[in-house]
């Protein structure tokens, strides 16, 4: 049997890797992938708690999180493509002006 705290610690480590990626990378696509990694880490913790509490609520919430993440990725990637069209770069340091 694996204690629940192991799963939560793994989730915390994955979340921290994602947060590090958002902080240190300058490529907008990599930052976006790091956000996905953080969402995934939160999902892992929720499913682990759902398994301990023997309730379906955690799994159903994770299902909704996955659906919302899909919508978020579609809109975010469209924005990145638009930014690339106007600036010819997706370096987040270049995105310092509101006007394209």
């Amino acid at each position: 049997m694996v204690p629940i705290s192991y799963y939560v610690i793994l989730s915390a480590i994955l979340f921290t890797i994602g947060a590090l990626g958002v902080l240190i990378r300058r490529n907008a696509l990599i930052i976006f992938m790091s956000v996905e990694l953080m969402l995934n880490a939160a999902n892992l913790a929720m499913v682990a708690f759902s398994s301990v509490l023997k309730s379906f609520e955690g799994q159903i919430f994770v299902f909704f999180v996955i659906a919302v993440a899909a919508a978020e990725v579609a809109v975010g990637l469209a924005l990145i493509v638009e930014i690339f069209k106007s600036k010819r770069s997706i370096d987040v340091d270049q995105m310092n002006s509101m006007k394209g």
């Binding site: 890797i17 992938m33 159903i60 990145i80």
Partner: protein, 172 residues
């Protein structure tokens, strides 16, 4: 040390290694592929935790649809968008902060976690496969409204993406 624990630790190592690989690789395509591997590992964790439906959703939606979308955009933007800007010394200070954060979080989680229990063993998890029906009943009865709202959200996202990327054609 039981077999389950060894299995967990090996998988956790793979998950952390692929996460770090995603973070550190210079090429965005490699980052995306590392992330696919990470999502697959997490899907195996879901099966171990007795959530086969979530595991399948993870594989089809995350590792399938979302990551294909990522790879598609990487190919669309081309190699000039994929710069090898990652330097190891930029990782030092944030990395030290991150280690402190993880250690503190782990300490608090171990000492203060209230539902101190074990997760289901894979044998028990296999039995919950039969409970997939129960999951569906909960989803479509108790959580029917959020389910429908999610469909509207996906529709709005789809329309929004089409509006964002279409060429501006002024009709006079």
């Amino acid at each position: 040390m039981t077999l389950n624990l060894i299995f967990f630790l090996v998988l956790a190592l793979v998950a952390i290694a692929t996460g770090m690989g995603m973070l550190m690789s210079r090429n965005a395509v490699y980052s995306a592929l590392f992330l696919v591997l990470n999502f697959m590992t997490v899907a195996i964790f879901y099966i171990l935790l007795g959530a086969p439906f979530i595991a399948m959703s993870q594989v089809t939606v995350y590792a399938g649809a979302i990551m294909v979308l990522f790879l598609f955009v990487i190919m669309l933007l081309g190699a000039e968008a994929i710069t090898g800007e990652f330097k190891f010394r930029t990782l030092l200070f944030p990395g030290a902060l991150a280690v402190v954060l993880v250690v503190e979080a782990a300490y608090l989680l171990i000492t203060r976690a209230r539902p101190a229990g074990d997760v289901l063993s894979p044998d028990a998890a296999a039995n919950t496969l039969a409970n997939l029906q129960q999951l569906g009943m909960t989803l479509f009865q108790q959580y029917l409204l959020p389910f429908e709202v999610t469909s509207i959200l996906l529709l709005v996202a789809m329309v929004g993406v089409i509006v964002l990327v279409q060429k501006e054609t002024r009709v006079h």
